[in-house]
Symmetry: C2
């Protein structure tokens, strides 16, 4: 409506950027900005510092694809983890969701997406080659395909199984119980735990 200025350009810019954060729209961005203005020392300044430090230090694990501030990541270098089991996920968000479920003590491999010919995403655009290499090099005994229950996810699972055909690794997938078309990241811990426990041969 009005193009009159009601606050400083620095605050307007902050609101514009906050509106791009998933979960916040233009209205909640204004609300968030005002809240942070009130909590300048407790929230606004610390969040600025945390974002700046994270932006500087965040890196992608060259082994598994997790987001961390060290490479290899905290999971890949954790000696208490069972390295014989690899859980294959599409996205880092899925890795974190499975970790929150706390059902497995395995390691992970982040594909970085799913095969999608229509979107021009082929095998070379995903971390599939490095997965096959890992299975060979690390002596993986079980590979759990924890991909989304979507057409693309299942297509990707089949493709990976084909690539692993002669390695002798046991390939399993999450139990049904994941809603068809559902995304892992939106599921509760109980469902994810049950799906992991009831995993079946692929």
């Amino acid at each position: 409506m009005s193009t009159k200025r009601i606050t400083g350009p620095e605050i307007e810019k902050l609101i514009q950027l906050l509106a791009k954060v998933p979960g916040l729209g233009p209205r909640s961005a204004r609300r968030a900005a005002l809240h942070m203005i009130k909590k300048k020392n407790q929230l606004m300044a610390p969040l600025a510092a945390a974002l700046s430090e994270a932006a500087e230090k965040v890196t992608v694990c060259s082994v598994c694809g997790n987001a961390d501030t060290v490479d290899p990541c905290s999971i890949c270098t954790d000696p208490r983890r069972d390295g014989a089991t690899l859980i294959v996920v599409e996205d880092v968000a899925d890795l974190w969701a499975l970790e929150r479920a706390g059902a497995m003590n395995a390691k992970y491999h982040v594909l970085g997406g799913t095969l999608s010919p229509l979107d021009g995403v082929g095998p070379d655009d995903l971390n599939i080659r490095s997965l096959v290499d890992r299975v060979g090099a690390e002596g993986t005994s079980e590979l759990i395909l924890a991909v989304n229950a979507t057409v693309e996810g299942q297509t990707t699972a089949h493709y990976i199984t084909d690539q692993l055909g002669d390695t002798g690794v046991r390939v399993t997938r999450l139990a049904h119980g994941v809603p068809v078309g559902g995304e892992l990241d939106y599921l509760d811990e109980g469902t994810l735990s049950a799906a992991l426990r009831s995993r079946t041969s692929f």
Copy 2:
């Protein structure tokens, strides 16, 4: 559940701070953090800079209480505004909401809350003294009490009216009624009664 480390402490800290932003909970904070990690240069670093700059420059207008990066604020120094009309609001968020509505070209006065004896909020905790002073000094002709339609809001409105008793300023308040686009079925009886009493010719 698990206390195992899955990512760097800098990223965990970022997620904890993001979870304190209104509109984001713990789960959406993780989602937001992962999104920003992917958009490090387009979103994470610019947001860090915007927060830092806003935290450094933001100030409260010493005249009206608006949040801005200059004092007096952009509204108080705008020569096109009708200074004879003052809109009294509880909070800066209300000021911004009214500005978005774009219905008035007035100036504002932010109380900073409402009278609430139970919470220990008395007249001296709000910007009421400065409001009365402004009305005297600026020759205000109309004071619009745009406080919330709550018990505390109305108590505060009455208190302010008492304080202004002999200044001759016209004191008005927002009309009660059905919100535009609102469904009668969802409104409380008080709103419906008020809307009926204040009915207008069709």
